[in-house]
Symmetry: C2
Subunit: 366 residues, 2 copies
């Protein structure tokens, strides 16, 4: 029996378009001046042009990175280290730990940092942006419960008050467009179906410090050997996203609605806002342990998640669910099912049977 | 006619062992708890074990990075930011620009930095290490002229005086072993034949700060999605190096000797020490321009280099050659021919004919 992959948010399967783009790629060093190097440079340039086109950006606004985490860190450290120490760096408590980790480090370096609370659906409120805010970092959508953030309003308010805005678009861009106007936007390749890599959009005129020093690669924003294959994979996946997200979202909405109604019927408390990523079905069970559910589902052929993959392996409850005000028991009993571009109606029908059987018969905790 | 690749130091062709290791690799997120994730985790663990074995290290001492530049930056920023500001960070003027770029940034952040001179062969002298030295960074070999550095002596002196030692082993480990005892050793995948990736060895007990914050990946030293393919490629290439470097060095020595005698016969001033990487033939011509030679060789089917690929594209003279005391004209007339694991006697014979013909007939500058 074919396995059913319902952990798209934890890592999207590599797109066929990415595999095709990686075939027969030149393997030279794109910084070398000979023919082998120039062939690699041409592939890299084309990847940058495609990425810029998919994002409605200019080519000099695109910097390729090794991961979404690197893009987020480059945005936050890069912008913050050029700001006066008196300016506050603002983010929200349900942001990804790459954002929270970076701002906590900035705090340790002497920057003013504010981590604003979120509501019960993990929603950030633009009012947290005040006159002292110098840089605000907000996710396009929450990566654990799928809640869409009021990015448009946040950008408008921040810019009115003179603050820079970083949008962490690691979660979501394969399903929804990114509001225009952000100063910095970070992307994760493995969440887009490219398997690896990442990118940072830096708006023309916005200056950031590098994290990596050395050669003049990536417009001086990121030194080091250019991973052409990674850039080409990223470009292929973001191009597919831009072209297909609307129609893909419509299918995903149908599939995840079926999953959510099943989970609610089995006693799960649905998590996240109504305005959510269309492929998300997440919930919490007060009387079940997430890891037990994941194990049982895995054995039965379903790949699922209990929060962010980056936090998995740890037994700590999700900081997102706690920030939303869930009880510790509920936070430890979370389940996240996320469909992907390739998920079919038949898979969802089979998954519903399996999930229903497991969560009905398995003894609840305690 | 098959092209002749004589720019191994600028980027080694991908090894067949690497291509084989990358076939049928699991594509999951190694931080995910389901079967797909665990398969990726197993591949990553095996890559780490192989790398540790090749380096005679423990698995917790290995951190995978995206590039050699990242490994160098992680070593230097990671160690220096934990040091008291009164300790001097020492390196030498002919080191790679990743090292020089990182220490200049550390200087801008308020650290004491010393960049010691090198001799006419780009050799560093251990005497530069003094009682105030807290961290010394030395290359295993110079990446532009191949000069071997007195790494053993440097480590011994630094440790006697209580300083940490970072060995930048991006250039050289496919030809020569790395002296034991360094606290930090950085590696570049694309210079080893893995096409991408890098790694940092951190000696057990040595603590470094991360550059990237977020998830707990790579023993907390580097947050972000684990690029399993990159780690597997790196492991395959460093394994081949450890197994084959001795016999490969012997062949390379024969081939590069033939190239060096040709270059000297054509009026080039050989650069670098007698104790050099066995695959290096580098020289400088007072009356020729490096870019003209590269272009002519490229058209004739030879990929060569005129210094570090990272600096190519710029018209600036190599900082290495200037640090060695070469005149500006000589520095602008440099040529670097480096053989690789796959270079054959027949290729060198053909290359000698082509080089001889080009450098004999082409008009020298001015």
């Amino acid at each position: 029996m074919q396995r059913i992959f319902l952990d798209d948010a934890g890592g999207a399967p590599i797109l066929p378009e990415v595999a095709a783009a990686l075939r027969d790629l030149p393997a030279g060093n794109a910084s070398s001046p000979h023919s082998e190097g120039r062939a690699a440079r041409a592939a890299l340039d084309r990847a940058r042009d495609l990425t810029a086109e998919a994002l409605g950006a200019g080519r000099t606004e695109i910097t390729f990175t090794a991961s979404g985490t690197e893009a987020v860190n480059l945005a936050l450290f890069g912008a913050a280290r050029r700001l006066p120490r008196s300016g506050t760096i603002l983010t929200w408590a349900a942001e990804h730990q790459a954002v929270l980790g970076a701002v906590r480090r900035l705090q340790a370096e002497g920057h003013r940092v504010e981590i604003a609370p979120v509501d019960h659906a993990a929603r950030a409120h633009p009012d947290a942006i005040g006159p002292s805010t110098a840089l605000a970092s907000i996710g396009l959508a929450n990566n654990e419960v799928g809640t869409l953030q009021p990015v448009r309003e946040l950008i408008d308010r921040a810019h009115k008050l003179g603050a820079l805005v970083h949008v962490d678009a690691c979660a979501g861009p394969r399903w929804i467009p990114i509001p225009h106007g952000a100063d910095l936007v970070s992307f994760s390749g493995h969440k887009l179906g490219s398997g690896r890599g990442g990118a940072l959009y830096v708006k023309d005129g916005v200056r950031i410090d590098p994290l990596l020093y050395g050669g003049p690669q990536e417009w001086g924003r990121r030194a080091g050997h250019e991973d052409v294959a990674s850039a080409v994979a990223f470009a292929a996946s973001i191009t597919v996203c831009a072209r297909e997200r609307q129609v893909r979202a419509s299918t995903a909405h149908r599939l995840s609605t079926a999953l959510r109604s099943l989970l609610a019927g089995l006693g799960g408390e649905l998590t996240g806002a109504v305005e959510r990523l269309p492929n998300f079905a997440s919930c919490a069970f007060e009387d079940r342990k997430g890891e037990d559910m994941l194990l049982a589902l895995d054995i039965a052929g379903i790949a699922a998640s209990s929060g962010s993959a980056c936090a998995s392996g740890s037994l700590d409850p999700s900081h997102v669910l706690l920030a939303m005000g869930l009880s510790l028991d509920a936070a430890l009993g979370s389940l996240r099912l996320t469909t992907g571009y390739a998920t079919t109606d038949d898979e969802i029908a089979r998954a519903r049977d399996i999930i229903s059987s497991i969560l009905t018969r398995s003894p609840a905790r305690a």
